[in-house]
């Protein structure tokens, strides 16, 4: 899987960093930072949950 993010949509809720901390972090303004754009399959369910819970829908997961 491959992850892209729309940083101009991100509101810094931090849901992604809470749900999938190995893949997402936040910068000083709270904006999403992708630590691993091509994460291991073992992260798949956490990443999908992070994308679904993002209140700004800023995370896209590509197959």
């Amino acid at each position: 899987m491959h992850i892209t993010v729309k940083t101009d949509a991100c509101v810094g809720a931090g849901q992604c960093a809470l749900v999938a901390g190995a893949v997402f972090d936040q910068d000083d303004d709270g904006i999403v930072v992708v630590l691993d754009p091509d994460p291991d399959v073992s992260e798949a369910s956490a990443v999908l949950r992070a994308a679904a819970l993002c209140p700004a829908r800023a995370i896209t997961v590509h197959e």
Binding site: A17, L18, L48, A52, P55
Partner: protein, 387 residues
């Protein structure tokens, strides 16, 4: 041949779309019909009063999914098909032109803007088209009056200042309310607005609005008035439930549901229109937050596909006003004062709502650094686990 199992979702905004996506993510293989009525693909509302109003985004950037994306998920999207009635016994939703059979139904018809003065030319902000229209009206050296001193009113006022308008914010209450946090942030919000030259009229009920050829005169109940070129009302939403009036569902400021979002067997409601019962108190109440709509949609998909019960969502909402990012997580009973957390940075504090026994029920990050907000959220989750 018998037709396939079918779920009809009425309302194609975030709650409806997320339900459809979550059904597929849970492995649902039947038909999904998603009915919309706005003439747009599903889009997000939070950017309307922020990026779209400021012109930082083209309106299309608020759209979540292309037709192709919906086709790929086998979601049959039917736009401009408002539901007109529901026959629960007959398992059918009616539109102006047809009856759509369903096995399960998800109601996600949301709210519309409340306004008593639309005939006078007062604008409201709910849809993508509204945002484009208000943006056009506010540009330049206009005098803008915003009615309603809540989150949306504050965002519109801030956008107006950024666009170069002179702005007045008018509220019936003597405080500025911040969603479920209530009036506890009012002093901070007043200071923020005043710093950015927003003229505040708080505790001023509007008596009437008179439109002349080129301006509006807003008169106050206690005397006095204010003149503006553009008036925008942000005084709350009304649930879209008229189409359900003869359905037999219980309607009381929204569609009354149990703690899993069921309004009747096989009939669910999600998002702004849905009043889910609190699992502890049993009180049914609507919650108009984006993250609530997402979590309710995911919970209902889990219930429909796997009969799973999800934990009640913890409210989370946010705003950006004059550049200050304000986030709130948890619950804020009116009797709890907001206390500044000890380890806060002075201008960017974390504020705590405590129940008196030291349990933190809610936290507000006022422009606070992200790690501080994440740590504070943990306090709320921990207190909830101990209940």
């Amino acid at each position: 041949m018998a037709r396939r199992h079918r779920i009809v979702i009425v309302g194609a905004s975030l709650a409806g779309l997320t339900t459809a996506e979550a059904l597929r993510a849970e492995g649902y293989d039947g038909e999904i019909l998603l009915l919309g009525d706005e003439g747009n693909l599903p889009y997000g509302r939070p950017p309307l009063s922020k990026q779209v109003l400021l012109g930082d985004w083209d309106p299309e950037q608020a759209i979540f999914k292309s037709r192709q994306d919906l086709d790929d998920l086998r979601i049959q999207f039917r736009d401009l098909q408002p539901a007109t009635g529901l026959d629960i016994g007959g398992r059918a939703v009616h539109t102006a032109t047809e009856a759509l059979d369903f096995d399960e139904l998800v109601i996600a018809t949301g709210t519309r803007s409340r306004s008593s003065w639309v005939e006078a030319g007062v604008q409201t902000l709910r849809t993508l088209d509204d945002a484009v229209s208000i943006r056009r009206a506010m540009r330049g050296p206009q005098r803008v009056a915003v009615l309603g001193a809540g989150i949306l009113g504050s965002e519109i006022a801030a956008a107006g200042r950024t666009l170069g308008a002179s702005v007045a914010l008018i509220g019936r209450s003597s405080t500025i309310t911040f969603g479920a946090v209530g009036g506890a942030l009012s002093a901070r919000l007043e200071e923020l607005h005043e710093k950015h030259d927003v003229q505040l009229y708080l505790g001023r009920a509007v008596h009437g609005i008179a439109a002349t050829a080129d301006e509006f005169r807003v008169t106050f109940a206690g005397g006095g008035d204010h003149t503006a070129d553009v008036v925008v009302a942000a005084i709350g939403g009304v649930p879209n439930v008229e189409w359900l009036e003869d359905s037999g569902l219980v309607l009381d400021d929204g569609v009354v549901c149990d703690a899993r979002g069921a309004a009747a067997p096989g009939v669910y409601a999600v998002g702004d229109v849905a009043a889910w019962s609190d699992p502890v108190t049993g009180v049914a109440r609507r919650v108009e937050h984006q993250s609530n709509a997402i979590e309710q949609a995911m919970a209902v998909a889990g219930t429909i596909v796997h009969d799973r019960t999800s934990p009640a969502p913890v409210p989370f909402f946010w705003s950006e006003i004059h550049g200050a990012r304000i986030k709130a997580y948890g619950r804020f009973p009116a009797q709890h004062p907001l206390i500044v957390s000890d380890d806060s940075i002075a201008d960017r504090p974390v504020l705590l709502s405590s129940d008196g026994d030291g349990r933190i029920t809610g936290v507000v990050a006022w422009d606070a650094p992200p790690p501080a907000f994440r740590a504070a959220r943990h306090l709320v989750d921990k207190a909830k686990e101990m209940q």
